[in-house]
C-alpha cells in the first residue's frame, strides 16, 4: 500500500518530496497549503485541504497540479493509504 504524506508547513514540502514514492499521495493542510500556490507549487499532483485553502483566500491561487479536497476526502485518503506521515 502506498503512503499518505500530510504537510502542514510549506517549507516541509521539499523534505517530503525527497522520500515520497511516485504513487504516494501528498496532502497540504494548514500553512502547508501555501506550497500549492502558483508561485511555488511543484509539477507533481498534490491535494490541499479545502478549509485551510478557503480560510487563507487561496482558492484562485493554486497551481494546476493541486486538487482541493474536503475533510471527508482526507479521511478516505487515510483509509486508502498506509502509513500516514506528518511533515512540519
Amino acid at each position: 500500500m502506498s503512503t499518505l504524506h500530510v504537510i502542514n508547513k510549506a517549507n516541509a514540502l521539499p523534505a517530503c518530496l525527497s522520500v515520497a514514492g511516485a504513487h504516494d499521495a501528498l496532502l497540504l493542510i494548514e500553512d502547508g497549503v501555501y506550497a500549492g500556490t502558483t508561485a511555488r507549487s511543484p509539477q507533481r499532483p498534490l491535494y490541499a485541504l479545502a478549509a485551510d485553502v478557503d480560510a487563507r483566500g487561496l482558492n484562485e491561487r493554486l497551481g494546476p497540479s493541486v486538487t482541493v479536497i474536503s475533510d471527508a476526502e482526507f479521511v478516505q485518503l487515510a483509509v486508502d493509504h498506509q502509513p500516514i506521515v506528518s511533515w512540519r
Binding site: N8, D71, V75, A78, I84
Partner: protein, 137 residues
Amino acid sequence: MIYGLARMIFGIAVHGAPYGSQASASALRFAEAAVAAGHSLHRVFFYHDGVNTANGLMVPPQDDPSPQQGWVTLAERHGIELAVCIAAALKRGLVNEEERNRYGLNAASLHPAFSIVGLGQLIDAIGSSDRFVTFAA
C-alpha cells in the same frame, strides 16, 4: 458521507496547543469526518504541547473558540477516550485531582472529560488501530 466499504479504526495524536498551532482543530475536524463516515476512534492521544487542549480553565473569545468543546462533545457521543500524556501534562501545569493531591498543588486544571495516561497508551493506540494519524505542531 460514506465513500468506501471499509470500516476502519483510527488512532489520532495531537501535538500542538490551541492558539499555538492548528493541530488540535485540524485533528478534531478529521475525527468528526471519520466518525461521520462510519469509522471508529477509540482514543485520541494528546502529547507535547497538544496537552494544552485539556486545560479546563480556558475562557476562549466567542469569535476565536478553542477546539476543546468539540472534543468533549465528540467523545461523549461516540465513547472516545481523550487521553493526555502524564509526563507532558505535569510539566505544563495540566493536572487532575489525583495529581493535584500527589504534588500538593493549589488546584486541578484538567478538564474532567480528559484522562491522564502513560506513554504506553500511545503504543496501545497505534497497536489497536488500522490507521494512525499525527497532527503535528
